[in-house]
Structure formats: C-alpha cells, structure tokens
Symmetry: C2
Subunit: 511 residues, 2 copies
C-alpha cells in the first residue's frame, strides 16, 4: 500500500471514524485512499472554516478526534480561525494538511506556502511526514496527541502519500491525564474552608456532569461559590445537574462579581482576564491580594482532581438540587429573551446547544438551568463563525440527539456554507438565526471607546441592515428549509414543529 493508504488504515484502527474534508489536488491520494479503504466517513465542507469548526464540535461531543483534510497553506489558513477556537477548547483534532511533493517545493509553484509555519500557529504539535514508511506511525502519534487534548497538525507531502511502502501502525495507548499532587489538593481545601468569600472557578472537563457533581459536593461542604469561565467548551446543564454561575463577558461586570474574593481555586480554566484591554481598566479580573490556586489545568485530570478534593473535604454525597423554575412561555413581541424562554421550555432532553448568539443570547442563558438536561457549547476563542460548523460537527458525533444552534447573524455569515453540509448529511440541527442586522457587540464596544454618537462612516462598518440579509433565502439556496418568525407565537409554533421533526431547519428570528 502507499503512504496515504497506510495512514488512513492506521487512523481508522486508532478509532478515527470521520474526516471533515475540503481536499485539493495535493490531497488526491488521500481521497483515493478514503475511496478504497472502508471505515472512514468523509464529510465535505464547502469552505475550510466549516471543516475545522465541524471537527471542533465533533471533538467536544465525541471526546475523540475527527480528522480534517486541508489543502496547503491557504486551505489551512481558511480553517485557522476555528482551529484557534478549538485550541482554546482543548478539542482533540487531527488535521491532515496536504503539501506539494518534497521535490516540488523548491520550484515555488503558485500554491507553494510555508505550511509548517501556518501549522505552528495553531498548535505546538506539528509533524511533517518524512516518508511513506513512517507516515502511519506519524498518524497514530497524531491521534495520541489529540487524545491528550491537543491539536495535531500532520503535514503530508504528496510524494510520500503516493509512494508504495506504507506500513500500517498499531494504535498507541492513550496516556492517562496527569494527576494532581495531594499537597495541592490540601492547599485548595484550606482555601475553600477559610470561610472567606471565594470560588471554585471551573472550565474544561470540570464542567461535565461528573465534575460538576463533585464541585457541588465541595460547595456544600465549604460554602464556596461555583463559577464557570465565560466561554466553556462544553457545559452540561439542565434539570438534575448542579447549577453553576457564569462569569460575565464584560470585564467590569466580571470584576464586580469577583471583587470581594480572597481566593479562587481554578480547575480546567485559568484565572480570568478581560477579553480586550480598555484604557484605564484592569486586564486581570480578580481583586488584588486574591489568592489564586490552579488545582488542575486543562491538560490534567480535572474530574479526578475535583473528586479527590471532595473526598479530602469528606464532603457528603451531592446535595439535592433545587429545580430552577422555567420561565413561563411568553407571548407577544419577539425579543431575544422571549425566544430564549420558548427554547428553554421546549428543549428536548439531551439536546446539544451550539451557542454563538453573542449579544442576542446573553440574557436568556439563565433560563436553561431549568430546561431538560443538555450540553452547551460556546465560542471559546472569540473568532466568530464557529456556531454553525460546531453544530454540524456535534450532530455528526451524536446522531441521536437534537442540536440547536443559537446563532447571531453577523457571525453566521462567516461560515454560512455549513448550512449546505447540514442539508447534504440531513443532520438534525435547528438553527435559530437571530437577525438584528448588526454587529451589535461592536456598537457597544464603540460606545466603550468613547464614541457616543457614531456617524455614517462608523455605522457603515457595524450595521448589516443595508441590505437586510434574507436568511430564509440563503438557507433555501443551500437546501435547508427555513421560516421566519416575527412574533413570539410564530416562533413557538415554528420551533415546536422543528422539535417534532428530524432534519435541518432554520428559523430566522427578526429582532
């Protein structure tokens, strides 16, 4: 077999089942291998940002990597924004980046690009396959790196892919995540038992149900608050699960929340900083003299750390959970809040919510504490255009679960091509498209830098209302059936119908 075939067979043997792909000529040997060897499901994205965002959503839900297939530097570049987000989420991904044949590189053909240079910007795991013989071993090493919560960027020169002599490599054992020394657990216990105000600040795997149950035991034993990072990769929420507060996005509000704390114990998240700097505002959000203790970082065993801490505290079993009340289903004018209230009421059990609603979603987030159990995925890295592709990938990973994508219009435009793949694969995704015809967050940010009365030129860079984007037409153009809601009652009827059916659907919410 040739190098490409040995790589593909070894990835399949190592448990990689899905390849999100936008191949080009330099990847044709890998396309041919996928065609020839059964076991890898190829899923075409019509732009690389869809491919990488889908791999992020898949990896968050499957807890194992999908492969991607990307085309030299420019194809990789198109996927980098969502790889940035995936990196901030510590999502397992194996990127396979085709490059020119090694002997072709010095000729500087038009697509020649510094592929290793591109790849090094999204991960510290970059490997250039050196031969057909070693390609499969590089592939299983990439899977092992991904399983440790890293992106693996594997560069495949075309000549090694087409050369005979590939040898299938056996999967590598997945190394357990590093544990936490007992003295650090004791130190965390001391801080939390102090009686002073503070919190357990959680991110990463700590926000899975098991981590939250251990955290809730700790909170019951110590009285500490539980606070989630602003943008969790995957938060398991809903009735029957411990409730957690969420740090606000705006630095001033976040600093207010943490302002009296004498200590913070971080698990799976680092101490929070402001998303951006502003003149005369602090970048770090904890108060001076706050004791910071990193109990477990995102690469360590965060759930084990929380369970060990609960044991160390001799915390009892998880306390009974007060069931938060759902909001009443509202009627009348359609707002982001009424949309949120409807969705929270009608959310199917085990739904997956891909949340890139940005400003439109912020105020209804709390409603979902009382919704059916679900997983909540957010924009971890701030590079917009992630919500649609992540929903796509989550639906591939979990075909029996309903996926709801809460999606802001400005961000949706970035990777609107994801709708086509949802239609092609008949994925069970309902996109709720908040159309406020604006980069609303940027209007707030302009105000925050002191422009209180923006003129025409500033508005022309922040408003999307001329022309108004007709999302139902865009969705239909890509094969996704779509409708528009202008009242809460209309939205409720459309959302109920979407929950009762399978397959992709877009509901445009006119705000």
């Amino acid at each position: 077999m040739n190098g490409a075939e040995s790589l593909l067979q070894s990835l399949i043997d190592a448990g990689v089942e899905v390849c999100f792909a936008n191949p080009g000529t330099s990847e044709m040997q890998l396309v041919a291998a996928i065609d020839k060897i059964p076991g890898m499901r190829p899923i075409l994205g019509l732009f690389e940002g869809v491919v990488t965002g889908a791999a992020d959503g898949y990896g968050r839900m499957a807890d194992k990597p999908a492969a991607t297939l990307l085309h030299l530097g420019p194809g990789f570049a198109n996927g980098m924004a969502n790889l940035h987000n995936a990196g901030r989420a510590f999502t397992p991904i194996v990127n396979i980046i085709g490059d020119h044949a090694t002997y072709h590189l010095p000729l500087d053909a038009p697509l020649t690009s510094d592929v290793p240079g591109y790849a090094a910007l999204t991960s510290d795991w970059v490997k250039i396959c050196a031969s057909a013989e070693s390609m499969a071993a590089d592939g299983v090493a990439a899977v092992a790196a991904a399983m440790a919560g890293r992106q693996a960027n594997l560069i495949v020169p075309a000549d090694h892919a087409w050369t005979e002599g590939g040898e299938v490599a056996a999967p590598l054992a997945v190394a357990p995540r590093p544990g936490i020394p007992q003295e650090r657990i004791a130190a965390a216990a001391d801080l939390l038992r102090s009686g002073e105000p503070g919190c357990l600040f959680l991110g990463g795997m700590a926000l899975r149900e098991r981590g939250l149950k251990a955290a809730s035991r700790i909170a019951a034993a110590t009285g500490t608050r539980l606070i989630s990072e602003v943008f969790p990769a995957r938060l398991q929420r809903g009735v029957g699960r411990p409730k957690i507060e969420r740090l606000p996005y705006f630095g001033e509000m976040a600093a207010d929340m943490l302002g009296t704390f004498t200590h913070m114990v971080m698990v799976g998240a680092k101490a929070p900083v402001s998303f951006f700097a502003y003149p005369d505002k602090p970048g770090t959000l904890w108060p001076p003299n706050c004791n910071l203790l990193q109990l477990a970082d995102p690469h360590q065993d965060q759930i084990a750390a929380l369970e060990a801490l609960a044991e160390h505290l001799q915390a009892p079993a998880p306390p009974a959970i007060d069931e938060p009340a759902l909001p009443d289903i509202p009627t009348g004018p359609l707002t982001a809040e009424t949309v949120g209230a409807v969705i929270a009421n009608l959310l199917p059990a085990q739904a997956i919510v891909s949340d890139e609603a940005n400003t439109a979603g912020a105020f209804s987030f709390g409603y979902f504490d009382g919704a059916a159990p679900h997983d909540w995925l957010t924009l971890t890295g701030g590079a917009i255009g992630q919500g649609l592709p992540a929903a796509l990938g989550a639906a591939i990973a979990c075909p029996d679960r309903k996926v709801i994508n809460l999606q802001a219009d400005g961000s949706a435009m970035y990777t609107n091509q994801a709708l086509w793949t949802m239609a092609r694969e008949n994925l069970d995704v309902c996109v709720v498209l908040y159309n406020n015809s604006s980069y609303a967050i940027l209007n707030l940010e302009l105000l925050r830098v002191g422009v209180e009365q923006p003129g025409a030129r500033a508005k022309s860079m922040l408003e999307l209302d001329n022309p108004r984007i007709e999302w139902t037409q865009i969705a239909a153009g890509m094969g996704v059936s779509a409708s528009r809601a202008t009242t809460t009652e209309e939205f409720q009827a459309q959302f109920e119908a979407a929950m009762a059916a399978r397959g992709p659907r877009l509901i445009e919410v006119v705000l």
Copy 2:
C-alpha cells in the same frame, strides 16, 4: 490626536482612499478615526476573505493600495488565502491589523494570537507600531512598500492607537522601479534574434497594453512568440491590442507548447513550473538545455525593459493588428463555450473581467481576443474564493467601468459574502455563475492520480449536486437580483439586460 487618527490622516495624505474593513473590538479606535476624519471610504465585508480579495482587485486596477482593517490573528487568517493570491499578483495592499494592547498580550486573553507570525506568512514587510508618535510614519512607510509591489502588514496595538501624541507624517516619494542593465538587454536581444524557436514569456506589468505593444514590436522584429503566464494578474486584451498566447494550465500541455524552445526570455514572470507535482512528470515546463533569461522580474520596471529591448532591436512601430474574428453568437443548449461566446460578443468597451471560472472558463478564453478592449484578472495564487471579491474591489477602483465576474460555483461558495457588499455599494458587477455542481477540476485531478472509477466516498468529496446550490436564492438573500439561464438564448437575453443596466446582478448558468 491619538495614534489611530495620525495614522489615518497620513494614509489619506499618501493617497489611500479606500479601506476594506471587517473590524473588531481591537480596531475600534481606527473605526472612530475613520468616522471623525473625512477622506477614507470604509467598505464593509462580511468576512475577511472578502476584504482582502477586494483589496487585491482594487490594487490591480488602481495601481495603488487600498487599506484593509483586520482583527488580530484569526481575522487576518480569514483573509490570508486572498492575501496569498495578492502576493502572487504583486498587488499593492496596506493591511492594518489590530492587536491587543501591548500590556494585555501577556495575559493570553482568548483572542491572543501571534499576529506577527501570521503576518510574516504573507509578506516580508511586517511592522509592529511601537508608539502613538511613530504610528503615522509606519503608515507612510507601508504605503511606500505597497507602491513597490509588496504587501505591507502593519500591526497596530490598541493602546498605541488610543494614546494621544500621534503626529501626521508626510507621504514618502515613490521610488522608481529598478531598471535593467544594458548588457542584459543585449543578451535578450541575442537570444531572440537567434532564429531558433523560443518566446518572450510575460507576466505582471508586461501584460499591460504598453508592455504588450513593446513586446509586439519585438516579436515583429525577431519572429519570437509571445506567451503569457498561466494566471496573469491583469492582462489588457481585446481589439486594437496585441494578441498573446497563454500557457496552458496542465503541465503536459504547457510542456508540449514549450517543448522545442531553445530559449525563453522572461519579463514580469518567472520560468514556468507545473502547478502541482505528479508521479513521473517533470515539475519544470521548459525543455532541457533551454536558455532561460530573466530580463525583468516583477519588482523591476518591466515595461521600460521591453521598450528598451525594442529600441535595442531597432524594432519598428507596433505592427498592424489582425482583428481576430468574434465567434458567432450561438444558440441552443447552454455550455461554457456558448456562454463565453455570448459574453465576448456583448462585452462593453473597457469592461473588467474577473475570471475564476476555472474549468468552465478555460475553453472560451480565446474568444475574447476579438472582444472590445478589456482587462482580464485571474486567480494568481490558486487559493480559490478570489473571483467575487476581486470583482468587488475592481468595481470600487473603476466605478465607470462594467465588471464581469466569470465565476465557478465551488469557488464562489468560499467568499459568497461578497455579493452582499456588491448590493450594499450598488456596484456595477455582473456575476456569471457557472453551476456545474462539482469541483470539476478535482475530478480531473483524481483521474490523473489513477482513479478511473471513483466510488461513492470519493465522489462525495468532489460533487456539489446533493443538494444542488440555488444561486439565485443565495444572491437574492444578499440583496443581489438574480436570474437563471438554461438555454443560450435565455442567457443572451439576461446578459444583454445586465449590460444595459447598472448595478449588481447574478446570472446562474446551469451546466
């Protein structure tokens, strides 16, 4: 004034009139400056690939830079593919990339990224502004670099942008392009006068009308052939202009064309190599023992080199040009060829053609030798998604000229957001969208790597027919009026109507 204001005023003073923008929070000071200071026209793109591709099209037609406004590493990454293309076209562009405040960078906020590392991948001109005071001087240096045919990547830390103390800097004189030593001109003349088969191989500025006229004098004096690089940045064509052959895309065909040559004299292009490598096929397209002489590279004065060579040869005035016949306007079934024949017949004088038709356009290219005078822009770097944005930028640069975008469907999906900006700015662009529901070139490439009977998994990565993309709906969703043609007569009627009206229009050609 603050740093951002001094930078903006200095760019305006240096002749930069247009800023293609997709700003974020870290660029708000620049947005505020554009709002406050008259003279810079901001044009919003709803994805950075639109922004940079538009700047490429603008720069090719205006022969001076537009500015872009991009948001940290991920925003820049989204624009990198079209910057790759612009780099291969030697297009003048000034990219302004906002970054975090300098003191915020060590906090590793979610969008923190190695912006200089990203920027260095598309250009060797990268500058990080060091203070508010020096920002304007950096800006005028960026314009000077751009005028020399380079991309200038100027990184603006937010704190320097908002700090007072900015000082407007005067424009720098544009340095003349380096000239060509007389002995090299004599050597080129000796090669071309040899009587052996060979060619003048032209790219870059050599393909402007003045360069082609000098080249045609040289051809008349020596009998040499004139051949254009495969993907010219801007080729001036049509009646009254010297005709030039074009090197074929596929390496075998190109090598056949050049196979008997004993010499090639390159002006504004380098000696041609195969786009990709293939097993057992050469990467260099000239025959062994062919004498290669680079008369002028893309940074030198290519037109002056050709004119000096013509003088050295004592070549007479440009020969009379045989007017190539236009094809008859065809009727009946719609094919890429009949579409091309209709357009060539109806092309308005001084039209600009942005050609990303890929396989669909290849066979009608020759028809346009007999069309009205026009400029032809192509995908210089092979990173698809360039045709729509380049058309947009060309229309901004030349508001009195009709722009025709010959556009393949697969490539159009990459940066479909460009349609929205065409509608917003009411640009006089007619998009001819070739919908063959396929990455047709990749089907050819798969055949070329030996897969003669692709199976379902391979086809699923190359075919776009499930679902079929409804381009008229996508266009309408973004505010561009659209129609579909299924016969040549329908296409002719729709294209005639588009040529008779102003404003954006999309015609889907169903192949």
